[in-house]
């Protein structure tokens, strides 16, 4: 089922491109995820310079003394800008996935547990959202609200829950047919108790796995929107927008547009690998 909705769904459990993963490797990949989160959290402390102030020569190449990743067209330190940009990208992606998980999770759980017409109505609405071109409409939403990070997050979040609703509803339905649910019902557990104590815990692993495999997609989508000028306003560091602004220097100083772009690649790579690690460690149904 995850194959049906996730463009980047994995082929076989426990493998990357056909190479099997052991548990230690999985833990290592999850550690990478934690490392990126810590770096993103501590970015203002780690950044050697003010990311919005010119602090050195113009367009210094990487490995220049004092500027590990070089400087940009007006002499701002690229390492500092990239670190702060990673912070914005990473937490934006996590926020979108978390909100999608929350909204989609509640809708999926209710639909799967209630069944009947509630299920039908909720899933019709979900299908409607799934069938609309999310990224495109997100662009229109941000354009209508006016550019800005918050508006971008709202625009993307509106279209990021249906996938979770589908997965969690399917998982809930499968769980609801299992004997322990029957037993709980016979023991006199009420509806709320059934959902919160007997369905929700069983759904969590699947939800966490699909969410963690999805962070990379959101990182890429947000970077693309930022590249188009739908993110934060000009002086603030943002990976996609920084690349777009320096595009004209591409052939003379490749690192000015290149470094923020490479940072997006690293984030997306870590997110995907970390997602694989989490999937291997959690006992989720595949």
């Amino acid at each position: 089922m995850s194959v049906a909705y996730a463009p980047r769904a994995r082929i076989r459990p426990g493998s990357i491109g056909g190479v099997a993963l052991g548990r230690p490797v999985s833990w290592l990949l999850v550690a990478l995820l934690v490392l990126v989160t810590v770096v993103a959290l501590a970015a203002p402390l780690l950044a050697p310079f003010d990311p919005v102030q010119p602090v050195g020569g113009l367009n210094l190449p990487p490995l220049s003394p004092g500027h590990l990743l070089g400087t940009d067209q007006i002499g701002r330190d690229l390492l500092s800008r990239t670190l702060l940009g990673i912070r914005v990208s990473w937490f934006s992606a996590l926020a979108v996935v978390a909100s999608g998980l929350l909204v989609g999770g509640v809708i999926g759980l209710v639909a799967g547990a209630a069944g009947g017409w509630v299920d039908t109505v909720l899933m019709r609405i979900t299908d409607l959202f799934l069938a609309l071109p999310g990224a495109l409409v997100a662009i229109a939403v941000v354009a209508a609200l006016g550019p800005g990070l918050l508006h971008t997050l709202i625009g993307v979040s509106i279209f990021w829950w249906p996938y979770y609703a589908r997965i969690i509803r399917g998982e809930t339905k499968a769980l609801a047919a299992r004997p322990h649910l029957e037993a709980a019902r016979l023991a006199g557990a009420g509806r709320i108790r059934l959902v919160t104590r007997h369905l929700l815990p069983g759904v969590v692993p699947t939800a966490v796995v699909s969410a963690s495999l999805d962070v990379g997609n959101v990182v890429l989508l947000l970077a693309g929107l930022s590249f188009l000028g739908l993110g934060q306003a000009a002086p603030a560091p943002e990976l996609g927008a920084d690349t777009a602004r320096a595009l004209s220097q591409l052939l003379r100083q490749w690192w000015v547009p290149g470094v923020p772009g490479i940072a997006v690649l690293v984030l997306s790579l870590v997110a995907n690998l970390g997602g694989d690690g989490i999937r291997n460690l959690l006992p989720a149904r595949r």
């Binding site: 990357i16 069938a131 609309l132 495109l136 229109a140 990379g216 052939l251 490749w254």
Partner: protein, 356 residues
């Protein structure tokens, strides 16, 4: 997209429709329902775009009379333009105009949006279709090389996976730096300078129709880099789904039978596996074609491709909402129609699909 699920369960169990109601053939019923859903989706899309246009910044009445007009003049223009009418009346008028090809006037180019779209759409379609064909080929290689354990295939798959993890704008940048800046093999962007006499507005296709080999080669030369950049992510998405279903079908009993009666691996694949396994990959390909019409925006911007994505990218910074709304409507409609056509084709190819 539930069709895909049905398809997967259909593969595993071979489900059949339990009842046939009203004497209508299930495939016909499926086709009708799917078409109905597509029409409904298009209306929802137009409703979303219209709602957004009402909350978009900028007052159309003030834009109409000019920034220095008095409030009375603005109010008068507001009444004359019908902006005081109820929401549903304005929405009905918007749909009526859209259906007759009137999407308003771009604030940036001052042309009717429909005329702009007609001018820019062919280049986008050319780029997306080229990339789509490329993605299908790469995706098939990805899947088959994995399922048949081709030696060296893992390296190719790894490279493709890594490329698909990168943001498209980074791929485009690296492509330009390497193939234009260092090697000088490919152009940095734009299309060829072929004076296109039509009829499609697509350089590669029209130059071929007019028998101009040089212009055709030039068009392909310009298409190469942007289409590869655009093709990588969908290739991996399609390749993964195809690989998964190839693995499933290769493990089935009828494949063991085919092998044990002495067929070569190639004949097993062609005769007994591919047709059974291709359904989910087709669905994913349809979805990806839709995604590509959104992803093309970034690629066109980097390569200065004179298409609808570049038009959208140029409209965003100046908040040209009529243009943005027009692009969203047209590309959204392309997305919905593509997915509908893929579903219909699948239902016609395999009746199990319509047994929902």
């Amino acid at each position: 997209m539930t069709q895909l699920q049905t398809r997967l369960t259909g593969l595993a169990g071979g489900t059949r429709p339990a009842t046939r109601t009203l004497g209508v053939h299930p495939t016909v019923r499926f086709l009708l329902r799917r078409l109905g859903a597509a029409v409904l989706l298009l209306f929802v899309l137009s409703l979303v775009v219209f709602t957004l246009s009402t909350i978009a910044p900028g007052d159309p009445a003030r834009a109409y009379v000019g920034a220095n007009a008095s409030n009375a003049a603005v109010a008068e223009a507001r009444a004359r333009l019908g902006l005081d009418d109820p929401f549903l009346v304005r929405y009905a008028r918007f749909v009526g105009h859209a259906l007759t090809g009137d999407l308003g006037r771009s604030l940036r180019t001052r042309h009717p949006v429909t005329a702009d779209l007609a001018a820019f759409l062919p280049a986008t379609v050319e780029l997306v279709l080229t990339a789509f064909v490329l993605a299908l080929v790469l995706g098939a290689l990805f899947a088959v090389s994995g399922a048949l354990r081709w030696p060296g295939g893992a390296v190719g798959r790894g490279v493709l996976l890594l490329l698909a993890t990168a943001p498209p704008f980074l791929l485009a940048i690296v492509g330009v730096v390497v193939f234009f800046g260092s090697l000088g093999w490919l152009p940095a962007g734009g299309v060829g300078d072929f004076e296109d006499p039509g009829p499609f507005g697509m350089q590669a296709l029209d130059s071929l129709l007019h028998g101009q080999a040089d212009a055709w080669a030039d068009a392909i030369w310009h298409l190469a880099l942007p289409s590869v950049v655009l093709a990588v992510a969908p290739a991996v998405a399609v390749g993964r789904v195809l690989r998964a279903s190839l693995d499933t079908v290769l493990g089935m009993d009828h494949v063991r039978t085919a092998r044990s009666k002495g067929l070569t691996e190639r004949r097993v694949l062609v005769g007994h596996v591919v047709r059974n396994a291709i359904g989910p990959a087709l669905s994913m390909a349809g979805l990806q074609l839709g995604f590509m019409f959104a992803g093309v925006v970034v690629v066109e911007q980097v390569f200065s491709w004179p298409g609808i994505g570049n038009y959208l990218a140029a409209s965003i910074p100046v908040a040209d909402f009529p243009a943005i709304a027009g692009v969203t409507l047209v590309l959204g409609a392309v997305y919905v129609i593509t997915n509908t056509v893929v579903d219909l084709l699948q239902a016609l190819a395999d009746p199990r699909v319509s047994a929902t």
